[in-house]
Point group: C2
Chain length 256, copies 2
């Protein structure tokens, strides 16, 4: 809509691929150097880009701060986290939380099994939307027209032989998911990784988020993983209850 802003914002994903100098930015935007310069300066003033010693631009740290504040506004995440941690405690596997937004599904939280590190490293990563259990849950709950529109707009990469092949198959899978109230991804993304997911619902019953448990084939087979389904669903329901306000938060959650 607004040409100038549009151009400025296109710079950000461009720089996300790596640092670039003025000319490269101008070339990739298809504008004159001086135009790119002014856009970059404006972005710079707002801390969105940073100019390193070699004068090349890269993304600025203000993005961190904004993303962090954005995360704080997602109160599902805050409410869900202790439940996810408890789930991880009991089953030991990787636990994810994801939300749907504008045709994309994004991880917004993760608890990793063994190594206590770098949880944040995946947060914000777009989910493999055609195969992930959490994606199926979130899409399954969309109103029919939007669901169909999204499904038909997607690409269906063949990550493995068991990946969802096309829109028709996906819509059928979504119908199943919607009916049974939970979802799986058995080797659809990575051959050796299985995953089960369950929905978190708001007061109105709409699916506001989805959580999942993932484990490599060699550790637990699909059968064993499915044994965790009741536990997973209880967790998701507990989050739903607290999110809907039907259950008071377990402890004081006083903020400062």
């Amino acid at each position: 809509m607004s040409q100038t802003v549009d151009r400025a914002l296109r710079i950000l994903p461009l720089l996300a691929e790596g640092p670039a100098n003025l000319e490269q930015v101008a070339a990739r935007l298809g504008v004159h150097k001086s135009t790119a310069l002014r856009l970059l300066r404006t972005l710079h003033e707002h801390g969105m880009v940073y100019r390193q010693q070699d004068q090349r631009y890269r993304l600025g740290t203000r993005l961190f701060a904004l993303a962090q504040q954005a995360a704080e506004n997602l109160d599902v995440r805050e409410i869900a986290h202790p439940h996810l941690a408890a789930l991880n405690e009991r089953c030991g596997h990787t636990v994810h939380l994801a939300v749907y937004e504008d045709g994309e599904v994004l991880y917004i939280d993760k608890v990793e099994s063994r190594y206590p590190v770098r949880m944040y490293s995946r947060i914000g990563k777009p989910v493999a939307i055609t195969v992930a259990a959490v994606a199926k849950l979130l899409l399954a709950d969309l109103p029919e027209p939007e669901r169909r529109a999204v499904a038909e707009r997607l690409d269906y990469p063949a990550y493995t032989a068991r990946s969802t092949p096309n829109a028709a198959a996906y819509l059928k899978e979504l119908a199943t998911v919607r009916e049974q109230g939970w979802a799986t991804d058995f080797g659809g993304h990575e051959e050796s990784i299985n995953c089960i997911g369950a929905p978190v619902r708001g007061t109105d019953g709409r699916t506001v988020a989805a959580c999942s448990v993932s484990a490599p084939n060699v550790v637990v087979g699909t059968g064993e993983l499915l044994e965790l389904l009741p536990l997973l669903r209880r967790t998701a329901d507990a989050i739903s209850a607290e999110y809907s306000g039907t259950t008071p938060p377990p402890l004081q959650k006083a903020n400062s």
Copy 2:
């Protein structure tokens, strides 16, 4: 520089405080509703803002993705993390990593002691620049004019009785830090929290980052904490060495 982009970007921190509707945004920007609408639409198209059911706008999840990619470009963080984790392993306290950028100091990594959770929750948070050990280290290394300019531009909030009171005191403290090569914060931010920090240096000797160990008074006194200084400095030096390329990375760090 660019009015339109400037206005658009001012919307983001505004929304970071919480969701807002069109009128509120227009009012706080000081522009007409229709102008605000077009800016918000453009931001929306880029996923920077999201429109929730009640039609109010909030920050969009694209910010997550961008921040994550920005983080991946900060290779100091990647190199430092294993060292920080090892340090945490040995001393058990909270470990931070921070960088300086355009007059601000930001945490870019954190390893927490006890509870394995929500490491990311503080990442991106601006540091209490007048008192934090990491901030002192990073500012101490700035060229004289910039250091003075920054110091005099700052506010000096009296978090506690031991907070740095004004620019003169801060500059003096920075001189000490620069000379001794490490920094402390003994109750300058929170009365009961002590902290020691050490610099990570690049090939040219410039301080590119700073790491620190923080612990509450009740667990270890300042004396005990200072006993960790050699370990902390060895850690910082190890990061510096690896970052400068004088030491090969300890194991294979193959990416994909």
